[in-house]
């Protein structure tokens, strides 16, 4: 029981990692990128290719694909999303879905139906674990969880304390007014897309390290990312982190109830949060709500 809870939290780290890029783009550009999962799989394949060809550690290869994915992000924003958002809020959905189909099938064409994993390139690390209070905890999932905390924490710090972060927040809040005070909203959107794609590169690598992937694995990753985002409330990146962990715990509970209940558990948790968000106060289920309340209470006292 305790063991599955710990494993769930570690898995939640991966979900948080894959969700933060989706949530970031949604916050800044109001776009849900349906090609998000497919792009994560694309980066997993890129890391695999580089690792295999140059006999590098996957941890080095991921550093090499970060700039590649950043450029893909820039192009995605400039060539596709910018044009699509002009046509209303529905077109980006259709366009990114079309893009996902293209990426999935190109990957299938290139790499075939075999599943791949990055873990063979890790040597001992793929099975090494820590023993804490009688629980065996894999080193790799811990690394993924810490990466998630570092990535989300880093993004949060950038958003809060740097000039770029201020500009991104201003653009997210109101692009037109941001433009009035001299912020180039086009540039900020492109930079944000590049940042989001870098997190996508990291999450794709994390997927490859933790398990296996194939050309059509993008759809499920998109659903996980979306569910974590909705559960987390989409308003803050730490909320998304918590959302990922709640999603993973719900899946573990589902698996305990029924052998095929892993995915269903997560989906039902997603529906419960969605239900709560629609029919009750919109942000009862976001972290912000509770922290804001507690702070108020302290001030009053």
């Amino acid at each position: 029981m305790m063991n599955s809870l710990v494993q769930a939290i570690l898995l939640g780290g991966y979900y948080a990692l894959v969700a933060c890029g989706l949530a970031f783009m949604f916050q800044v550009m109001r776009i849900i990128n349906l090609a998000h999962g497919s792009l994560a799989i694309l980066s997993a394949y890129l890391v695999w290719e580089i690792t295999d060809a140059l006999a590098l550690s996957p941890f080095i290869s991921v550093l090499m694909i970060l700039p590649i994915m950043a450029i893909i992000g820039l192009l995605l924003q400039r060539v596709i999303l910018e044009r699509a958002t002009k046509g209303g809020e529905l077109l980006p959905v259709l366009t990114t879905f079309g893009l996902a189909i293209v990426i999935d099938n190109l990957l299938f064409q290139q790499f075939g139906a075999n599943t791949r994993s990055l873990s063979p390139y890790l040597g001992d690390l793929s099975w090494e674990s820590y023993e804490i209070f009688g629980l065996w905890i894999g080193k790799l999932p811990v690394i993924v969880l810490i990466t998630a905390i570092v990535v989300i924490g880093g993004l949060d710090l950038v958003l809060r304390f740097t000039p770029l972060g201020r500009q991104i927040r201003a653009t997210a809040f109101d692009p037109d007014t941001a433009g009035l005070v001299g912020i180039d909203a086009r540039k900020i959107a492109a930079i944000s897309a590049a940042i989001a794609m870098m997190t996508v590169a990291i999450s794709g690598t994390a997927l490859g390290l933790r398990g296996t992937f194939d050309a059509y694995a993008g759809g499920p990753q998109l659903l996980f990312a979306f569910e974590a985002t909705i559960i987390g409330g989409a308003s803050s990146l730490w909320g998304v982190f918590l959302g990922g962990i709640i999603l993973a715990i719900a899946q573990s509970i589902g698996a305990l109830i029924h052998p095929q209940g892993f995915l269903l558990g997560g989906h039902f948790m997603f529906l419960i949060f969605l239900f709560a968000r629609i029919y009750f106060n919109r942000d009862v289920f976001s972290l912000k709500h509770w922290f804001a309340k507690r702070n108020k209470g302290e001030n009053a006292a």
Binding site: G98, Q109, H258
Partner: protein, 334 residues
Amino acid sequence: MKIKRSNAYSKMTLYVVAAVFIALILLPSFASNNVMERLTVLFIYIIMAAMWNTLAGFGGLISIGQQLFFGLGAYATIRITNMGISPFVALLAAACLVGLLSWPISTFMLRLKAGEFAIGMWVLASIGHLLVNLDPLIQGETGISLIALNQYTIGNRRLLIYFAALVSMSGLLLGLFYLLRSKAGIAMQAIRDNEEAADSIGVDAEKVKKWFFIFAAFGTALAGALWLAQASSFQPKTYFSVQWTAYMIFMVLVGGLGRFEGAILGALLFFSVETWFAATGVWYLVGLGAVAMLCSLFLPKGIWEAIETRLGITLVPVGYQVTGLIPDSHSKNK
């Protein structure tokens, strides 16, 4: 100034449609088996495209999860025939059941916006798939055949499925035609053109959207049930695949989002593309995705919109036409 609901083109359309319908009814007496089987597939594609267009083109609701209704339609048919009911009664009953089920889903899902609605529907489709997998009758991903069809000889079966598909398609298109011409439909087209403006003159978007959602669920379920009859075996993985929605999106985007004729044109195009290029396998799917993407970027109203605005042709009169407002103006269906 004159306001009318039809023009010379639409009267011509009426005759052509009637002629095509009679030809399609008489067709089995001389066409080969292969032609009939392919036409059955075409009818199902037209249903799927028209239903997705109902939702997206008129309701402004982009769903990536219509495979939920497609799969459930097929699954319900299996379940109902398992109780000893004739498969052709079961088709209709299954679609009605799924239509009923879509009512509570609609009250819930229609509160979501754009992308959230799109992926939310996808999650629901995934839930549907996983739940159907739990049914012991289906045997997980192994699936099951529609054994009840064995009571008919192969020839009769082909004929019956052909007519079932033809009648379903005609019925749904006719239904959609009258729905669009009704008060709700005019409201829907107003919402399509500008939701805020429609709202400001008292159009109840929520209620109208709900009816269109249910209608699309019913039609898509019927398409799923017909596909099951035509393919005769049910594997959850195939029927709940997001591929179906991808096909629907392709057909509607290419043909013409929000245009009655567009969905039919798109289905015809998709059918021809599939017939010629499906053998190229993966590249064919890459092409579909790319064309859908390019269409949504550069031709968001599809081919039909281009035809309609360039030539001023309206074949299916679902709106009102105002003529004589400005001398010499083309009659335009808006």
